[in-house]
Amino acid sequence: MTKSILFVGVGGQGIILASKILTEGLVKFGYDVKMSEVHGMAQRGGSVTTQVRFGEKVYSPLIGVGEADVLVAFEKVEAARWISYLKEGGNLIVNDYEIYSMPVLIGQEQYPENVIEELKSKVENVKIFNAAEAAQNIGNIKTQNIVLLGALIKALGLENLDWEGIIKENLPEKMQDENIKALKFGMNI
């Protein structure tokens, strides 16, 4: 069975790195994997997505509407933006964290207030927590992406694989400890 994971968030949140680590791991553990990322304009403060599909044999790198087994939202409004991609009964993981877009900053549009309640009321399998705060407590807000990755790995039931090793292979030495802590934290939520 092919599994599909959609990462959504805002440029600069480390989405590409998190999906890269996931992808490297899945390949290492013997899956066929396809990963697709967005480049260019979207990185300038715009909405960013990456997609990972894995299984025995994967053809399309793209996930359709209503087809993601897990939707990982690095920012809560982005969860609302992409919610239609989540498969019925799929897992929703949300970073309870706000980043205002320019139209919101200059008062042209409103940042909605009830995002979390609304998501909780519509989706059965939700995990919502503040990964940014958790990462800050670990010592570096930039590891919020790995906290979320940990939560995703748990949702996929792949905790038993050697993700620490994958992190060590993919990150410079001085960043490894923090990121391993972040990963473990995420896996225990």
């Binding site: 805002v10 260019g40 715009g46 320019m102 549009e109 609304e118 519509k122």
Partner: protein, 586 residues
């Protein structure tokens, strides 16, 4: 060894393994990483050329000298480079020559959605189309072989999803083919009419031989499954078709898509009950299949506009089972890309935005984002380099109409080197009193920080002479008194330059100089610089919000600056009339 690679990385790897020795490109999403990766192999001389036409010409010269060479560009880049390609199609090659076009269905980061497969029949060159990273690598090798065996340029066509998706690739060793001997042959390499007339016959004859090859080559293959449905497809569409139909259909997977395999298509169509053509954007395959007298189903169900995906195919060709889709009752705010916090272009745009009557013709690059609110600076944007020349045209037309429009053509440093210089020459030569603004941030910003003739470094990491924009501007004929070089972080100075330019009656140039805030060294240097708001002094007039810096927020009735985003450019501070913003750090 197995590695997970993007299509672009795999193409570079393919070039390496196939013994390629020269590669050239101008960066452009989604093609950029091809050259960034060839540069990692010291066996391949890799360069950023000032534009795509130059890149193709470098590769052509290298091919004539005997080297296997590639050049890469995004789809619109091929429009710039079409000139040398069409004639090189006549000359043929010595070392294999591949021109890569990375098309962008869905326009993830492009100004149009052209389907460059049509370039192959138009230029009469062979074309291949891989459908995943492994094929990207393998097809580069085939393409070199085809190029050398048939004495032709090969167009290598990928799309965004191929370029930027990662999948597993099996690595091999490099095969050293060396640089072939060069023999002088003016009938082959000098296209004066007398020679090209002969060549045209050779080109037509070559196409027949290529078609024979296409019918028998491993790049085109049939996968038999259920014969009630036969799908003819190529590129990423093959993967989508497989995803949707699996074993419930037979496939003719086309990897060599010009010339198309006529006999193979006929054979396949005969063996299946119904033929579907699944392809993204234009009906390239479909038109051909129909020209063979074969009935098929295609664009009446599969859309021409936008990127294809399995869902679209499913809905188009299979009975739809409506899924339950999650919906939330929230009005989700839009999140358009914007100029980064601390972006050096902001000061200039802010200064221009004070004049409501300035016409701004913009160009391709980050600064296009100056069109977004609250700055709202830009009236038109066409293609690389067109800001200045379109500005000339606008000005001339406005003059004819007796309108007194002040035109500012806005262009970046890399784009100026690419094709802005000729526009500026036009402005001087034809005396168009427009203002050219060259935003020199010392990097090719939008595509992710590639070096260019102004950065002092080559793609291979070597030091290089820095081409001086101001000197070029003077050499082109802009008078000294009509040139301003300013620091865009200094609002007063920048505003004065814009004011002078506004009043000018001759061609005028403003050069803004301040490096992109995302350059690593810049980030390090400015790490401890930031601004903060003194709450007591802040009158909440919101003037600072008008510069559109994403680091400034108005939350819970308070103006605040997000420390982690701010780089201390001080623009907001200069705008605040109440001295409520302070600079911290040095």
């Amino acid at each position: 060894m197995k590695r997970i690679m993007s299509g672009n990385e795999a193409i570079a790897r393919g070039a390496y393994e196939a013994g390629c020795t020269v590669a050239a490109a101008y960066p452009g999403t989604p093609s950029t990483e091809i050259l960034e990766n060839t540069a990692l192999y010291k066996e391949i001389y890799s360069e950023w050329s000032p534009n795509e036409k130059v890149a193709v010409e470098v590769a052509c010269g290298a091919s004539i000298a005997g080297a296997r060479s590639i050049c890469a560009m995004k789809h619109v880049g091929l429009n710039v480079a079409a000139d040398p390609m069409f004639t090189m199609a006549y000359e043929g090659v010595n070392g294999g020559l591949i021109i890569i076009t990375a098309d962008d269905p869905g326009m993830h980061s492009s100004q149009n959605e052209q389907d460059n497969r049509y370039y192959a029949p138009h230029a009469k060159v062979a074309m291949v189309e891989p459908s995943d990273s492994q094929e990207c690598k393998d097809f580069v090798k085939y393409a070199f072989e085809i190029s050398e065996k048939f004495d032709t340029v090969v167009l290598f066509r990928i799309t965004t999803r191929i370029a930027h998706s990662k999948s597993i690739v099996e690595l091999k060793e490099r095969c050293e083919v060396g640089v072939k001997e060069y023999k002088k042959d003016i009938e082959k390499y000098i296209m004066i009419p007398a020679h090209s007339r002969v060549k045209h016959y050779e080109v037509e004859e070559r196409l027949l031989r290529l078609q024979e090859y296409s019918n028998n080559c491993p790049l085109n293959r049939i996968e038999w499954g259920d014969k009630r449905i036969g799908i003819i497809t190529s590129g990423i569409s093959y993967q989508y078709a497989k995803e949707v139909f699996g074993e419930n259909a037979s496939y003719l997977k086309i990897g060599m898509s010009y010339p198309l395999p006529d006999k193979m298509i006929k054979k396949f169509a005969k063996a299946v009950d119904k033929v579907y053509i699944i392809e993204e954007n234009d009906p390239y395959l479909e038109t051909y299949v129909k020209s063979l007298g074969i009935e098929c189903i295609g664009k009446e169900f599969i859309p021409i506009c936008g990127e294809l995906n399995p869902d679209i195919i499913r809905r188009a060709l299979l009975p739809v089972k409506e899924k339950n889709i999650y919906r939330v009752d929230i009005k989700v705010p839009s999140r358009p890309p914007v100029l980064c916090p601390g972006c050096p272009h902001r000061g200039l745009f802010f200064a221009i935005s004070r004049y409501k009557d300035i016409i701004a013709t913009s160009d391709i690059g980050c600064y296009t984002l100056g069109m977004m609110p609250p700055l709202n600076v830009a009236d038109a944007m066409i293609c690389m380099g067109a800001s200045i020349s379109a500005g000339v045209g606008f000005k001339k037309a406005a003059e004819k109409a007796g309108r007194d429009s002040k035109v500012f053509g806005i262009i970046g440093d890399s784009t100026f080197f690419h094709s802005g210089i000729t526009g500026l020459i036009d402005a001087v030569y034809n005396n168009a009193p427009i203002v050219t603004v060259i935003l020199d941030n010392r990097i090719t910003g939008m595509t992710g920080h590639q070096d260019n003739p102004g950065t002092g470094r080559t793609l291979m990491g070597e030091e290089a002479p820095i081409i001086d924009i101001e000197k070029i501007v003077k050499a082109v004929g802009i008078k000294d008194e009509n040139i301003r070089v300013v620091d865009p972080y200094n609002l007063e100075e920048t505003q004065r330059a814009v004011d002078d330019a506004y009043k000018a009656v001759e061609p005028f140039v403003i050069i803004t100089k301040q490096p992109c805030t995302l350059i690593k060294e810049v980030q390090k240097r400015r790490f401890n610089m930031y601004c903060k708001v003194e709450d007591e002094r802040c009158k909440k007039c919101k003037a600072c919000l008008r510069i559109g810096c994403p680091a400034i927020t108005f939350k819970n009735g308070k103006i605040a600056i997000e420390r982690s985003m701010c780089n201390g450019c001080t623009l907001c501070m200069q705008v605040c009339k109440f001295d409520a913003i302070e600079k911290v750090g040095e």
